[in-house]
Amino acid sequence: MGKLSVNFNGFELKNPILTASGTYGYANEFDEFIDVSKLGAIVTKAISLYPRAGNKHIRITETEAGMINSIGLENVGIEKFIETKIPELKQNNINYIMNVAGSTIDEYVQVAKKCENEKIKAIELNVSCPNVKSGCLEFGTDENSLYELVSSVRAVYSGFLIIKLTPNVTSIEKLGIAAEKAGANAVSAINTLKGTSINIELINGKYKKTIVQGGYSGKGIKPVAINAISRLYKVINIPIIGIGGIETLDDVLEFFAAGAQAVQIGTSNFTHPNTAERLVEELDEYINKNGFKSLDELKKELRA
């Protein structure tokens, strides 16, 4: 393994640069722009037991420092993912983490069982999606429901289990602790913040309002993510994967300093579709230029 590699007790990443769920497709879609196999891993779009059609109306809008989405977890469902996307991932040598969404514990458990059968090495539970009215929201905001969900999935899945935490809570520490106690191998933070945009136009003397309510992501949420990770780092012992507004190498270093072991790139894949690949190259260059023997040494210095 190279200097940039990360070993999460058994789950290996060739580098700490991952791409975030919902912004990168299911497999090799970004090969139009970069060599996806160079990344530490991609996290797939959320996958549920059955395909979902997602939300109606306007699904995305730009904000001052990011965007709001209300995609509503449109996805192909686990069967189709296994049938068509896993072969593509394997063929292209892409390391992946499957993001899972559900509305009931049973749905998560059924998906997790299928992942176990398929020997999928790592899954990330989306317990924090603010778009779906039923289910999701409660798991990520209440430590008892979260504990119950994570232990139920843990009981049927032996691979690397990541819980993706929502920032839309008062004490993220409690949720991180619940996930760890229930047997999670890592947490990732953060999912999108709740946001609303009202675009106002005056047309022929009348106001036309376009309202988009959903998950706020991008540059603007970075301080919220750094805050969440710093707080989690103090109270849990499992690795933290940092997410939120990452665009530059300085952002990545900031996440390492806060306590993240790896990072995921989301919205900035849209702005510059080669961001993740560029960050791998820049991190490699940075480590060599500054004489670090390993990524761990760099992280240690950053946290000292």
Partner: protein
């Protein structure tokens, strides 16, 4: 070929009271079908802005754009020789039929239709290009249009293209109609196509994030085999068969 380029502005000029033509030269020539689009990174903005291709001489990409907000203001500010970050080409294209063709543009929607016309002319396919604008100052300089309408009657026929489309269908008797413009124009053309049994192909717009079909931000409803399903404007489109689109009101 990776679809993201560091390119340079080769030409930029104002071509009507509200629109600009910009020609972009990439390191290597890029070839684009009519109906496809590119996306431009606009300094500091999160989402790239999509624009249909208007011309493609020697692998340079020309677009015609209307100033609307921050993104187009930035593009307008570029000068010859400036760097520009573009990605593409994306999306499907008009499915060119060797049939008598009616081309309909409205406003800036005339851009991809004008590019389609050059393709049809090159293949010697009989066609008629009609386009509507607000007034004569809005007609892009250099665009070759067979029949023009203006809302205020300051050039060509007075009124919207929609006022003439029925008459033209009856007189010209097209076998296929290609269109791009505001939602309402595309909707009415699709309905007329169905009424007269003429194939229609319409180029749609929707706010986009990824441009390659992964974020599912730009979906519309379409009818396929009796079922209503999601289609992405960026990858499954932007060109759809008029009769397949489920039109919102």
């Amino acid at each position: 070929m990776k679809k993201i380029y560091k390119a340079k502005v080769n030409k930029i000029e104002k071509v009507s009271s509200s629109s600009y033509f910009i020609e972009i030269e990439c390191e290597n020539p890029v070839f684009v079908e009519a109906g496809q689009f590119i996306s431009i990174y606009c300094n500091g903005l999160t989402l790239r802005r999509p624009f249909s291709v208007y011309s493609n001489n020697d692998g340079r990409i020309g677009i015609l754009f209307k100033e609307r907000g921050k993104g187009t203001k930035y593009i307008k500010s570029l000068k010859v020789g400036d760097d520009i970050d573009i990605a593409g080409p994306f999306g499907n294209s008009f499915d060119i039929k060797n049939k008598k063709s009616l081309l309909v543009g409205a406003g800036i929607g005339a851009a991809p239709i004008s590019y389609l016309k050059t393709k049809l002319d090159n293949e010697n396919i009989e066609n008629c290009f009609i386009s509507g604008f607000l007034n004569k100052n809005e007609i892009p300089k250099g665009m070759e249009i067979d029949k023009i309408c203006t809302d205020d009657g300051s050039f060509g026929e007075k009124g919207s293209v929609l006022n003439y489309i029925g008459v033209i269908i009856n007189e010209y008797k097209p076998e296929v109609i290609y269109a791009c413009g505001p939602h309402i124009v595309l909707k009415i053309i699709s309905e007329l196509g169905e009424k007269y049994g003429i194939e229609t192909q319409v180029a749609m717009e929707k706010v986009m994030a990824c441009g390659i079909g992964v974020c599912r931000g730009c979906v519309i409803d379409i009818k396929k085999n009796g079922k209503i399903i999601n289609a992405t404007v960026c990858k499954d489109g932007p060109v759809f068969k008029g009769e397949e689109v489920v039109w919102e009101n």
